[in-house]
Structures are given as structure tokens and as C-alpha cells.
């Protein structure tokens, strides 16, 4: 490794203060973004978190199989339909019993954006004292790659396949992180695996802010198997998602948005989509729709973060 690269990496390594609680070889596909994230979280936040997980790609590793487990964390297997409510129950009891805790409710986009969104929104509204992390692989991967609410326009999945009457998903993805920030929770942020320092900071911030209430982290985590991408391209995909503004990095305290990384000259979204087979049926027109969507969302974000400087939102009084 060159000295320069090493120097660049050191700050990230500094965040890894705790051991990796996971066994070495675990049941994820090669190049899985979710695996990287799952190993990273306890190394930054500590091994004393209580982590919940649903049926999903994380389940074989996070929840183990019957009586075999792949890690040393305290974990709780939740249903997809009630994950945030399970986490609420844990966190509220610990609070009542005076037990120091960091409850991390860890879910895919299928749970967070779709089937479990109702109770996620409810927990945010009640400002429950735990951290919700959504790893976004833009689909239901564990059941074999079906579309979810965060699957982008143009992507093929097994429920939005290519065919004579279809070219893939014909609707634009929802912006889950922004929706959560609009709950005006103490902390909401986006992050991804190409910017680990940023991710680590946000994890630590969430740990601190959860004393004030609900924290939400939306982490973009590529799925080589479901996206038709080379396993060694995972980080590059994240990097390009950021550089094209397909997945901008920002945070919001009490609903006030601040960009944590601004891209001076965003690349066309095509430089991102070309890395994945799931976009291979998109023509110029489809790319324009996707590009317009990316530009539109970025514009809203930008607008919101500018507004933040101008309006002074009344903050809830500290306890």
C-alpha cells in the first residue's frame, strides 16, 4: 500500500475500536455490501449493542440457524411486519429498568420501506429511544430478488422482469431517508460503504443522539448477486452512486438537512448504471427519466439544506 493511501485509511481504522464479533467465513455471497456493513457496525459502536434482524439476507448470519450462531452479539429475531415495534419494546423496558443500552434495529429496505414502514413511522413519531438502520439493496434479495419501494426506475427484478410488455420497474423509487427525516426525529442520515469515515461518524452520532430519541440511518449496500454486478465492484458502485448524486450523503438533526459531502461536478447517472446488469434494458429515454429523478431529488435536498440556514426551526426543549 502506498503511504498516501495508508494515511487516508488510518482515520477509518481509528474508528474500529472494538472487535469484529462475526465468524470469519459466513454465509453471504462474495462482495456482499450488507456483510461489510454488518461487520462494521459493532466494530464502531461496540459489541454491547442489542441487534434485531428480520427474515432477510442478514438472517442466516445475524440470526443463525436453529442453535448455531455466527457471532457474539445479543440478537433478537423479529418478524418483518413488526421490527420497529419489537425494538421499541426492548428499548422501553431497558429504559424502565435503568439498563444502559443501544438497541439497533437492523433491516433491509423490504422491511423498512415496505412491509414494516407503518411501525417504523410510528416509532419515529413517538421518538422511541433506539437506532434504526436500513441497509438498502433495493429489493427483496433473500427471496430471490423481487422489487421493493426503493428499487429504482428501470431495474429488472423477478417481479418487474423484462418482457414484451415490460422493461423493468416503471416507477421511480421512494426516498425513504428523506421521509424519515420529515418525521423530525433527532437524527436521520444516509451513508454508504465507499465513505467509511462518514459512515463511522454517523454511527457514533446516532449512538449519542439516541439519548434524545429515534435515530434513522439509511445505508446504501450493493448486492452483486441481485444486481448483476461483479463482486469486486461493490465499493466502486457505492462511489459512483455518490458521485452521480444517485445516493447523496447527508444528515438531518431534528429534520434540518445538511449535506455531508457535496459533489462539485456530478457524473451522469449512466456511469453508475453501466456497472450493473439490472439496468441493461434501459435505453436513452429511460436513462433520462432516471437522471431527471436523481436531479429532482438532489434539488429538493439542496433546497431543504439551504432553507435550513434561512429558517430557524423551533427545537424541542431538552429534558
Amino acid at each position: 500500500m502506498t503511504e498516501k493511501k495508508k494515511a487516508k485509511l488510518t482515520p477509518v481504522l481509528d474508528y474500529l475500536k472494538h472487535e469484529d464479533p462475526f465468524a470469519k467465513g459466513v454465509a453471504f455471497c462474495p462482495g456482499c455490501g450488507l456483510e461489510l456493513l454488518l461487520r462494521f457496525i459493532p466494530q464502531v459502536m461496540g459489541n454491547d449493542i442489542v441487534i434485531t434482524g428480520t427474515p432477510s439476507c442478514s438472517a442466516p448470519v445475524l440470526l443463525g440457524q436453529n442453535n448455531q450462531s455466527w457471532h457474539k452479539l445479543s440478537y433478537f429475531g423479529t418478524l418483518m411486519t413488526g421490527a420497529a415495534a419489537n425494538a421499541t419494546g426492548l428499548a422501553r423496558y431497558y429504559k424502565k429498568a435503568g439498563i444502559d443500552n443501544t438497541v439497533v434495529c437492523f433491516n433491509g429496505d423490504g422491511t423498512a420501506a415496505d412491509i414494516g414502514f407503518g411501525n417504523l413511522s410510528g416509532a419515529a413519531e413517538r421518538n422511541e429511544p433506539f437506532i434504526y438502520i436500513c441497509y438498502d439493496n433495493e429489493g427483496y434479495m433473500n427471496t430471490g430478488v423481487q422489487k421493493s419501494g426503493t428499487t429504482p426506475y428501470g431495474a429488472t427484478t423477478t417481479t418487474t422482469p423484462f418482457g414484451a410488455a415490460s422493461k423493468g420497474k416503471n416507477l421511480r423509487r421512494m426516498n425513504l431517508a428523506l421521509k424519515m427525516a420529515m418525521h423530525k426525529i433527532p437524527y436521520a442520515a444516509t451513508a454508504t460503504l465507499s465513505d467509511l469515515g462518514d459512515l463511522a461518524k454517523k454511527l457514533l452520532k446516532a449512538k449519542e443522539m439516541k439519548e434524545k430519541g429515534f435515530c434513522f440511518l439509511h445505508v446504501f449496500a450493493p448486492c452483486p448477486t441481485g444486481w448483476g454486478a461483479a463482486p469486486d465492484n461493490t465499493i466502486e458502485i457505492c462511489r459512483r452512486a455518490v458521485k452521480t448524486n444517485y445516493f447523496p450523503l447527508w444528515e438531518a438533526e431534528n429534520g434540518k438537512i445538511r449535506m455531508t459531502k457535496t459533489i462539485k461536478k456530478p457524473k451522469p447517472v449512466k456511469t453508475y448504471t453501466e456497472l450493473m446488469k439490472k439496468f441493461k434494458f434501459m435505453d436513452e429515454e429511460d436513462h433520462k427519466i432516471l437522471q431527471d429523478d436523481v436531479d429532482y431529488e438532489y434539488c429538493i435536498l439542496g433546497g431543504l439544506s439551504v432553507l435550513e440556514a434561512e429558517c430557524q426551526l423551533p427545537l424541542p426543549a431538552d429534558e
Binding site: 429475531g77 418478524l79 418483518m80 414502514f117 427471496t143 419501494g149 423477478t158 417481479t159 410488455a165
Partner: protein
């Protein structure tokens, strides 16, 4: 199963899930809404690909969760549409409030449920516990033994649900993994034959539907007037559905050359002293063991339940009375009762069985396989009972550690 010689057929090797999806396609539903779950996922993937290729002209709603799937098809059905959905285990129970409401509204929804266990969130194994958990919802429940029967039952289900005299939703159950993923030979019906089979539904009086401008409300029943009457009508419609199902099965044979005996299928029952009662995919295995045992001179038969709700009481009593001993095989538990659910229900008819003795077998749950050895064991134990030996009331066949009849 009876099969008649036919002039033409369309033989395919497909899975139980594909059979369900093709059955749904052939029925030409107006609205399909579903959410993926193992081991049902292939059903909605196949339907999505039929939809994408233009082969299936329906409104396809890829909902954000099963509860929405059931609510969407219930409403579409009440508006007058033909609908389809599919689920399994956690998905099925996540529909539960809407399942009850669908039955209460007498919406003729047809769905398949791919049976799967429900004790832990990732309990990915076969078992009919999900069926038992939704048993008392007021739906008609049918159970398939093999991939062919999955397809045939989906088509028959539409005839039953949408019959003017019935109007009760129908759920077709088939075993997860053992049938959902089993590839076997299936004779796929031709579209024009299916159209003919279902055309009867068009000739009957129009059922009440919610249409713009009709000044008709729905969904507000349950307070004051008419509530009790509605409940009673529902129960009597379910009673009627038994004979109706037998009749539909016969008509099916006329067009497709296959019939199964309606509510129950009897396999080598006529001269049998000893009978096993089963349902679903286990029946295939049981039949082949019966053939082996018969070669040894043991007079054993099988009563296969094809209809589980309404309970085919009359047919079962007629077929079982006077037998020496009956072993009931349950692929689920009846918490709070020692025996399995079907056993417990059959037990309530014991006085009408003219002395036939009953025992309960629990097998095929919690990742266990109903093996030929296990079936042999059940037959031997039921035979022992017939011969006057002492046999414990309940046996967990794959769990010898279970002692003392529980």
C-alpha cells in the same frame, strides 16, 4: 384419481408453484395482488413474467405486504372482479384480519397457500400449522396431493367460490417444499377447455357488486339488523359447498378427464380393516406404502381429505364406520389438545363410527420428513390397535423421545 383417455393433452414437467401460477393464468383473473415469501415466491414470479410477456392480462399489484394483498383482492372481488393471491405462513397470518373480513363480506376470493411452519421467524420447513391457524376464518379449504391436483384445484376453486349459491372465498393449500418445489409431470389444460369449464359462472344470476352509481354500500354489517342472519347464511353456504364440490369434481372429469372423488378420495378403502386418514403430499407416500403392505396381505386403505373446511363429516363417517382402526396423520399441532387437529375433529364423530378405534399420529412438522418407514410404523401401530393391542393415543412418529402418549 380417475383418468379417462383423452384425445389431446399438454404434458409439462413443472413445479407445484408453477402449476398454481398456470392455474391462475388459465382462470383469467382481473386482479392479482401478492407479496413474495418462501416457498410461495415462484408463484408470483411466474405470474409477473406472464404479465410482463403479455400472456396474462390482469392488473398486477406488487403490494408492500401481504395484508395489502388480501385487502386489495377482497375489494376488487366485491367490485365484481375475479381475483387471485398467494401466500404462506407468516404472510398468511399477516393477512389475518383481512382474511376474516373477506369471509365476512362473502367475497369470492381464490388464493393458494403454500403450507409452511410458523414457530420461529425463519422456520423454513413444511407443515400445515399455517392452515390450522386460519382454519376458523369462514373460508373453504381445499388440499392438494400433487402438482396436477394443485392446478386442478385452483380451477375448481373458482367454480366453487364464484358459484352464486356459495359465494365463499376458497383457499387451496399445498405442502411447501414437497410440492412447491417438486417438478413432476402435469397435464396442463387447454385455455379453451378452461374457458368452457368456467363459462357456467357467466350463466348464473349476477352477484351483488359495488359499482359506481349503484347506491349500494358494503362493509358496514355487524351491528343490529341482519347480522345473525348473515352469519347463518354463511354457515349454510359452507354446508352447501360440500355437495357442490363433489359435483364440480365430476364436471371437471367430463372436460379434463380427471376426477378425484370430491370432498374425500378413497384409496383401497372398500375391503380395508385398517385406515389411515391423511391430507396433502403425504398421501402419495402413504399410497405407495399401502401397496407394499397389501402385498403382505394387510388390508389397509387411505382416506385422503381434499376438503378440510367445511369438514366432510358425512362422507368421512360413511367411509370410516365399521372399520377396525383408524390412524389419523396430522402435519400440525392442536395446542391444548393431545392429538392433532384432524384427529381431534374426527374424534367428535367417534360414536357414529360403529366401534372403529382412533389413534393420532403427528409427523412431518418441524423439518421432519414423513418417510415410508414412518408410514409403515403408523400402519403397524394402527393394525395393532385393530388387533386389540394397547396403543398409545398420540404418537409423535419422528420423535421417539415423546413419551406417554403426548
Amino acid at each position: 384419481m380417475n383418468t379417462k383417455a383423452k384425445e389431446r393433452s399438454q404434458i409439462k414437467v413443472i413445479t407445484g408453484n408453477a402449476a398454481a401460477a398456470i392455474g391462475a393464468k388459465l382462470a383469467r383473473p382481473d386482479v392479482v395482488a401478492a407479496y413474495p415469501i418462501t416457498p410461495q415466491t415462484e408463484v408470483i414470479e411466474q405470474i409477473s413474467s406472464f404479465h410482463a410477456s403479455g400472456e396474462m392480462d390482469c392488473e398486477l399489484i406488487t403490494v408492500e405486504g401481504e395484508n395489502s394483498a388480501m385487502n386489495a383482492v377482497m375489494a376488487a372481488s366485491l367490485a365484481g372482479g375475479r381475483v387471485f393471491t398467494a401466500s404462506s405462513s407468516w404472510g398468511l397470518v399477516f393477512m389475518y384480519d383481512a382474511i376474516l373480513a373477506t369471509a365476512g363480506a362473502r367475497a369470492p376470493v381464490v388464493m393458494v397457500n403454500v403450507n409452511r411452519e410458523t414457530p420461529g421467524i425463519i422456520a423454513v420447513s413444511s407443515g400445515q400449522q399455517d392452515m390450522i391457524s386460519t382454519r376458523d376464518s369462514g373460508w373453504i379449504f381445499l388440499i392438494a396431493e400433487n402438482c396436477q391436483e394443485v392446478l386442478d384445484l385452483v380451477l375448481q376453486a373458482y367454480r366453487l367460490a364464484e358459484d352464486y349459491d356459495i359465494q365463499v372465498p376458497v383457499m387451496v393449500h399445498y405442502d411447501g417444499f414437497y410440492l412447491s418445489y417438486l417438478s413432476e409431470v402435469v397435464d396442463v389444460p387447454f385455455q379453451e377447455d378452461v374457458d368452457q369449464f368456467l363459462s357456467v359462472l357467466k350463466d348464473q344470476p349476477q352477484r351483488t357488486t359495488l359499482k359506481p352509481g349503484k347506491k349500494l354500500g358494503c362493509g358496514s354489517h355487524g351491528i343490529l339488523g341482519g347480522y345473525l342472519e348473515l352469519r347463518h347464511k354463511h354457515v349454510t353456504a359452507m354446508e352447501r359447498s360440500k355437495a357442490k364440490f363433489d359435483q364440480i369434481d365430476k364436471e371437471y372429469e367430463e372436460i379434463f378427464g380427471r376426477s378425484y372423488g370430491g370432498q374425500i378420495e378413497k384409496y383401497k378403502m372398500d375391503d380395508a380393516d385398517v385406515v389411515l386418514v391423511g391430507s396433502g403430499s403425504m398421501c402419495g407416500t402413504i399410497k405407495s406404502v399401502i401397496d407394499e403392505k397389501r402385498e403382505q396381505g394387510i388390508k389397509i386403505g387411505l382416506l385422503k381429505m381434499r376438503m378440510y373446511r367445511p369438514f366432510p363429516s358425512e362422507k368421512m363417517i360413511a367411509a370410516l364406520k365399521g372399520k377396525k382402526a383408524i390412524g389419523v396423520v396430522d402435519r400440525s399441532l392442536n395446542f391444548g389438545f393431545k392429538g392433532g387437529p384432524i384427529y381431534t375433529e374426527l374424534k367428535s364423530f367417534e360414536s357414529k363410527l360403529e366401534g372403529a378405534k382412533l389413534v393420532s399420529f403427528i409427523d412431518g412438522i418441524a423439518n421432519t420428513d414423513i418417510t415410508k418407514e414412518n408410514v409403515g410404523k403408523m400402519i403397524d401401530m394402527t393394525g395393532d390397535l385393530a388387533n386389540g393391542k394397547d396403543v398409545q393415543e398420540v404418537t409423535w412418529v419422528s420423535y421417539p423421545e415423546a413419551q406417554g402418549g403426548i
